[in-house]
Symmetry: D2
Subunit: 144 residues, 4 copies
C-alpha cells in the first residue's frame, strides 16, 4: 500500500462515524490485503452477549473497502455494491479480526473475500466469511 | 404475531447490545412481516455522513431475525446463517426503515427478504435490499 | 422495452449456446420486467429428477440479464457481476418460470431480483429467489 | 473421503441429469475438498462463446455439494440452501475446474467456498468464486 493510500486510510478511520465510534483499528495493510480488528464492548453485542452480526459485517465491510481501495489506482475510493456474510460460529471472543484479501481487481469492480475470526483467550476461531463487490469512485476532495 | 412472540421481541429489543444502543425500534410486527426503524446519529455513519453499510445490515438483519422468528413455531428463535445486502443508493436520510418479509418458511430454514428505505424530509427512497437465511434454534431459557 | 431492445433479446436467445440448447424462451418483456420459462427435459435435472440448481440459476441469470439490459440505455448490454440464489422448495414441476424485476438502475450497475416458480399440473409454487448485480458494457458489434 | 462416500459420489455423477449430460467429472475428492471439471461444448456457452454463468454455477454447486457431503456423517447428503457466485473474468478456456473446500461443518449446515478457474492452452485463470450454504438431509434409499 502506497504511503498516500495509507494516509487516506488513516484519515478515513479517524473521521467521525461508526468505524471510529465502535473502535475499529487497522492491524496491517498492504496492497490487496488489509486486516482490521475490533474489541468487544457491551453496545456491540447481540442478545447472547456475542458480537452482533451487523457489527461483524461492518468490520468485514470496512476491511474489504480499504482492501479494495488498495487494489485501485490512486485517486479512487471503493464503495460497497454488495456484501454477503456467512456466520459460521458464535463470535464470543473479546475481539474480532477481519482479514480481507482482493480476489480480482478490474477497472471498475474489485471483489474481496474476508475471513473474520473471533479471538478468545489467545485462541482464534473463524466466526464469519464474507465476500464483497466494490466499485471504484473518484476520491472526494479533501480525502486524497 | 402471537402475544407471546411479541413479548419475546420486546424483551430481545430491550436487552443490552447493539440493537438497543443504536436505537433500533419496532414499527410493526405480524407473522411473516416485521418493520423496524433507526434514526441517524453521528456514531452510526460512514465517512460521507450517511448511514454506515454495517449499520444498515444490522437493522436489516434484526428485522429479518424477528420476521423469521414470527414464521417459526413458538419456542423457536431465528439465528442468521447468512445475509446478503445490495446497497442501492446513499442512505442519506434522517432515518432508515427495514421492511422484512418471509419468502419461505421450512421446518429448520426460513428465508426472508428486506427492503431498506432511507427517509429524508418525509420522502422515502430504497437504499438497500437484503436476503437472509435464518435457522431455527430453541429459544434460550428466560426468553420465551 | 423498445423494439430495438426486443430485437436484440430475440437475437441473443437464438444464438447457439446454453439458453437455446436448454430451451429457454421469453414469456414477456417490458422495461424493468422480463419473464422467461424453461420446460423440463431429462438432461436438465439433478439426481431426484427435479430441475438442477445450476439450470435454475441459469434461467434466473438469463432473465435477470435481459431485464437489466432493458433498464439500460440502448447500446448497452448487461453482464453478470454476481448472482445469489436461495433454493426454497423442490423444482419438481414440468416447467420453471423466472420473473425478473429491476430494483435499482444506476449508470453502470443495475440490481435485479428474480422469483422462480415451478409449475406443476397448472399450479405454481416458488422454488427459488435470486438477486443479481449486473454491469453495463457496450453492446458488441452485430448485436445492436 | 471414505470408500462409501466416494461410491455414493460416483453413483450420483452417473445418474441421468445435468451433471452427466453436460459432462462434469470428478478430478479429486477427499474429506472437505472436492475438485470437478467440465469441458467446453457449444451447448454450454453464452453468447460470446464462453462458458455460460449458469453452467459455471452448476459445476460450482455440484462440487460444493459433494464437498459438503464429504464433511457430513455417512448417511447424510448435502442439498443446496443457497449459492452465491461472483464472475471474475470471462470463462473463455476449453475447460473449467471447480475446487471446493469446506469452510465450516456444523451438525446441520455446512458452508463451502469454491474457486472456479478457466483453463486455456494449459494456463489457469480464476473466472468465478462461489460460496454455498448446504443442509444435511438423509441419504435417499438406494443412494448409500
Amino acid at each position: 500500500m502506497g504511503a498516500e493510500q495509507l494516509a487516506v486510510l488513516d484519515r478515513i478511520m479517524n473521521l467521525p462515524g461508526f468505524p471510529k465510534s465502535s473502535g475499529m483499528r487497522v492491524v496491517s495493510a498492504e496492497p490487496g490485503r488489509v486486516t482490521m480488528a475490533l474489541a468487544k464492548k457491551p453496545e456491540l453485542t447481540q442478545f447472547f452477549g456475542h458480537f452482533h452480526g451487523g457489527v461483524i459485517t461492518a468490520l468485514a465491510d470496512h476491511a474489504a473497502g480499504a482492501c479494495a481501495t488498495s487494489s485501485m489506482p490512486a485517486g479512487k475510493l471503493a464503495v460497497t455494491v454488495e456484501i454477503k456474510v456467512n456466520f459460521l460460529s458464535p463470535a464470543d471472543g473479546e475481539e474480532i479480526i477481519a482479514r480481507a484479501e482482493t480476489i480480482q481487481a478490474g477497472s471498475t469492480i474489485v471483489v474481496v473475500k474476508v475471513d473474520v475470526v473471533s479471538r478468545k483467550a489467545g485462541a482464534e476461531r473463524i466466526c464469519a466469511f464474507a465476500t464483497a463487490t466494490m466499485r471504484a469512485v473518484d476520491m472526494p476532495a479533501g480525502f486524497g
